[in-house]
Symmetry: C2
Subunit: 349 residues, 2 copies
């Protein structure tokens, strides 16, 4: 049997949504632009340190850079490497702990600006031995996850400085607060967390007090840089908060089966969707029954006929970040025209 | 600033688990071998059509081929393409509906054996116009998803034959049955579904009656080929059924933070785990609190101290298939030694 060579004859790129192979991520460029501008108008320049973990896309990061945000937040070493490779490595914060910083050290050696979060002796030692010289002290501000206790921050900073590191300040993520639907409760919880971070910052010193996210973008007035990421593309979980950011990301899928008993099936399943926040939603009022590996099963609203096999439908992910991580690329649209293809090039570790 | 060239100096491959960057998929080769052999002893040669959607890995498929299973089941066009590129394209069933079969037609033209599921006029037309000549009639056997109703199968087969297609038989997936924990209820539900499939096969004709999965591997005695996939690596959902297949896949993660208030954090989060079946489990009796994008937060059993920062822990995914789809590669181990790296090369669409 003849083997297929990987060098296929060139296929013209799709120009319209109908020509796309599905499932496919779709970014509405005007909604994205609006989201980016609303955020940048409120948090200008270094007041925003966009988190790339939400979109994992250097082309999107480039738009954020162009609006004046030259420092970025990353969650993985691969994200830091990818941002440097894309020429966006002036001031990257790996807002996470690592025990092996050698890959980061190689980037520093090549001239990139890399700061890493530390919250223990072991992570301080990892920064030193890996060749990273700038750190933030990561402080637990109420979310049970990483970060030292606030009263440990000062001693850890001393330890880091004794080890030869530059301590640029503190970070603390109020992840337990950013998703609270009631704005007053959210504001109170953010304030409580940021009180802890401000105290830690006093003990630690350094110019950076980093925290926050999309849900606290206008509530967190303590952190002097906000690590928001989801605001650019949004998802159905964040949409519940009534923020001034539109859902710019959808997934287009093809109806591959329709059953006379009242359900239809489209080709957007568990391998195209972050599912930890539950089922996705759909445009046109369809009710999602369930998802399996490559399928979403749904029914139309009462009185509306089933879509036909071959029709396209739109799926709205419940959680943006783990959704992006499944896809190789996103297609950027203006109306129904495809104007660009952006690689989701920061995936993996 | 100097840009990092993509041509890094060669780094020696990791030889032990401790040298691996985390999170990393780990396949225990002796458990995998045992799973493959147990299945092949019961369903020999063409009685098993292994489903590659579960592992998305041509190296693993090669082991299944070596045990005598030369036909495979796929869920996406990319899986079919990847299997052909790996030289495993003798008899591939795309057990799913597609509305654009042109990529499949190119494989057929190059000599691959490709059969596609159809359940409607539109999918029959897609096979014809895409250049695929062999089909199975996909029958709904009780899972509300794809497949025509049983009494539509005969007329659809006639329609397909009139359109010039070879109808090799029927397929029907009893996905609502394979996960039922009670064996008797599972057996009854499988039998009911397969009764429907057998009836449809009589109306359709053709030598193939394809169905089943890991949960019905020894209960489905009607389908003459079983589309099992999960049995090779397993997950915590299937482990509940008490099947003779061991959990051969785990994820190794590094403890990156430990809090004196009783929890620890490792670097295996939502982007490393299919979450639709809920939280993963952990070895050593750890209780999983929750996962976020790059973190799993957990606590040890009563009376056992927290692991130290830098320790390794093992995570057991709740659902194999969407877990594999997040990873670029899996590391194959014999004891604590790494003996191979297998690309998860069938990802995407």
């Amino acid at each position: 049997m003849q083997r297929i060579d990987e060098q296929e004859p060139p296929v013209p790129p799709p120009r319209t949504l109908e020509q796309l192979q599905t499932p496919a991520l779709i970014i509405d460029s005007s909604l994205l632009d609006s989201n980016l501008r609303v955020m940048s108008a409120h948090l200008s320049g270094p007041r925003l340190r966009p988190h790339v973990k939400a979109h994992k896309c250097t082309e999107l990061a480039r738009r954020q850079y162009a609006l004046g945000h030259h420092g970025f937040t990353c969650a993985t070493i691969r994200e830091v490497e990818g941002m440097v490779a894309a020429g966006l490595g002036e001031d990257l914060l790996l807002a996470n702990e690592v025990l092996d910083a050698t890959r980061l050290g190689r980037l520093v050696e090549a001239g990139a600006g890399v700061t890493v979060a530390v919250d223990s002796s072991a992570t301080i030692e990892a920064a030193v031995s890996g060749g990273v010289s700038e750190v933030l002290i990561d402080v637990n501000v109420g979310l049970p996850r990483c970060g030292c206790e606030p009263n440990e921050a000062g001693p850890l900073a001393e330890q880091a400085r004794r080890a030869g590191l530059t301590v640029r300040g503190v970070m603390g993520y109020e992840g337990h607060a950013v998703g609270i639907e009631d704005r007053t409760t959210r504001a109170d919880t953010v304030a409580e967390s940021m009180g802890m971070l401000a105290t830690a910052n006093l003990a630690v010193g350094g110019p950076i007090c980093s925290g926050g996210g999309t849900g606290s973008w206008d509530l967190n007035t303590v952190a002097n840089e906000i690590q928001a990421g989801s605001y650019a593309l949004m998802d159905t979980a964040y949409a519940k908060l009534g923020l001034p950011f539109a859902t710019a990301l959808t997934i287009t899928a093809t109806v591959i089966s329709a059953n006379r008993n009242g359900w239809a099936v489209a080709d957007c399943g568990l391998k195209a969707l972050g599912m930890d926040h539950g089922n996705p939603s759909m445009l046109d009022g369809h009710t999602v029954w369930y998802c399996s590996d490559e399928h979403i099963v749904f029914s139309p609203p009462e009185g509306i006929p089933l879509p036909a096999v071959g029709d396209r439908v739109r799926v709205l992910p419940a959680h943006l970040d783990p959704t992006m991580a499944y896809h190789e690329a996103a297609w950027v649209t203006e109306g129904s025209a495809i104007v660009d293809r952006w690689a989701i090039d920061l995936r993996g570790w």
